[in-house]
């Protein structure tokens, strides 16, 4: 699957390269240089975040989180799920592993939906490692602010249609 994503990215890049080449040598070289400089500037920060995330994940008490997402947790459980999703450190493996573990441990579907949605929207770790370095800070906070109701809406949607 990683190969598929790489191929897709490669194809998009090839098309863009073609368009840039049509616009002339200056545009092509300038674009390549700008992109490469961005890449090099990001490397140390990313290396720290990605390589360090495994250690952070190892120290999280996963059993405790599973306990809090139980089926009887109600709206409080949704709140806990949302906060837990935001605070889950590490990459997608950690977030989805905890979500899946909670599901197996008998957590209710809406809670897990809220958790997965909150994790996708504002995992603090990703916000700090990836988004803040790359985006205007004000947009990051604006996005986080207006995203606050979304995990609850997603859980309400799951309750409403009775799926999954």
């Amino acid at each position: 699957m990683s190969l598929f994503v790489n191929l897709l990215l490669g194809s998009i890049l090839a098309v863009l390269l073609g368009f840039a080449a049509l616009r002339g040598r200056v545009v092509l070289v300038q674009s390549l240089r700008e992109g490469a400089v961005d890449f090099l500037r990001l490397l140390p920060r990313l290396a720290l975040g990605v390589i360090g995330s495994g250690f952070i994940a190892e120290t999280v008490p996963q059993g405790l989180i599973v306990q809090w997402l139980g089926p009887d947790s109600g709206v409080l459980g949704l709140g806990v799920a949302t906060v837990a999703g935001a605070l889950t450190p590490g990459g997608p493996v950690v977030g989805f592993a905890i979500g899946a573990a909670a599901l197996k441990g008998g957590a209710a579907m809406p809670q897990v939906i809220a958790y997965a949605t909150a994790w996708a929207l504002f995992a603090l770790h990703r916000l700090l490692v990836w988004e803040v370095p790359m985006m205007p800070a004000r947009l990051v906070w604006l996005r986080a602010l207006v995203s606050l109701p979304l995990p609850f809406l997603a859980a309400a949607g799951a309750l409403l249609i009775g799926r999954p």
């Binding site: 897709l8 490669g10 863009l16 700008e34 961005d38 500037r41 250690f55 899946a100 997965a116 995203s147």
Partner: protein
């Protein structure tokens, strides 16, 4: 277009900042805890696993940076303003949502593209809708990560439920800006 200095007005961060310092401290503490609690063999296996993961990501990172730059330089600014500028209304949010759904790759593709869109005239609401759509509806991450853990039934329904959310987030962002709750200043 290439002579326009505003194209390169995207602010670059220095080599170090407080969020990196925070993560560095957290990593140092956690690594120490793992080393003391689990022993050096486990410490090295965690480290090796993450280094392999990082190496696997590098080509995607490079592609993301290059795609972001190309999009920024190649996209005609008037087209962006027309499609997803502040006057683009609901249609602009829908276009941004669809773009977020289509874009492949991880944070390294999405954030540079969003920053590029802002730099060439997209409004904050459209950028928020784009990023929200990418996080909630993006099919590549759902395929690669979510499906193995949760199974297709869960993933499909979670995404179906999330379809209206990016547009809603974009509307809320425009509302927050218009009401003065958050001011959009000189950082653009």
């Amino acid at each position: 277009m290439i002579d326009d200095p505003k194209i390169y007005s995207r602010r670059r961060k220095g080599a170090f900042d407080w969020s990196t310092a925070f993560i560095a401290g957290l990593v140092a503490v956690c690594a120490t805890v793992v080393f003391v609690r689990e022993g050096s063999a486990h410490f090295w296996s965690v480290l090796t696993g993450d280094v392999v993961l990082f190496a696997d990501m590098l080509p995607k990172v490079l592609a993301g940076c290059l795609i972001g730059t190309f999009v920024m330089i190649l996209l005609p600014r008037d087209l962006v303003v027309r499609l997803i500028g502040s006057e683009s209304g609901l249609m602009g949010l829908l276009v941004a949502t669809f773009a977020g759904f289509l874009l492949p790759g991880g944070p390294l593709t999405a954030y540079p593209v969003a920053a590029a869109l802002l730099a060439v005239g997209a409004d904050a609401g459209a950028a928020v809708a784009f990023l929200t759509s990418w996080t909630l509806l993006g099919y590549t991450r759902a395929l690669v990560w979510e499906l193995p853990f949760f199974g297709s039934d869960f993933v499909i329904w979670r995404i179906v439920i999330a379809v209206p959310l990016p547009v809603l987030a974009g509307l809320l962002a425009r509302l927050a800006l218009r009401s003065g709750l958050i001011r959009w200043g000189d950082e653009r």
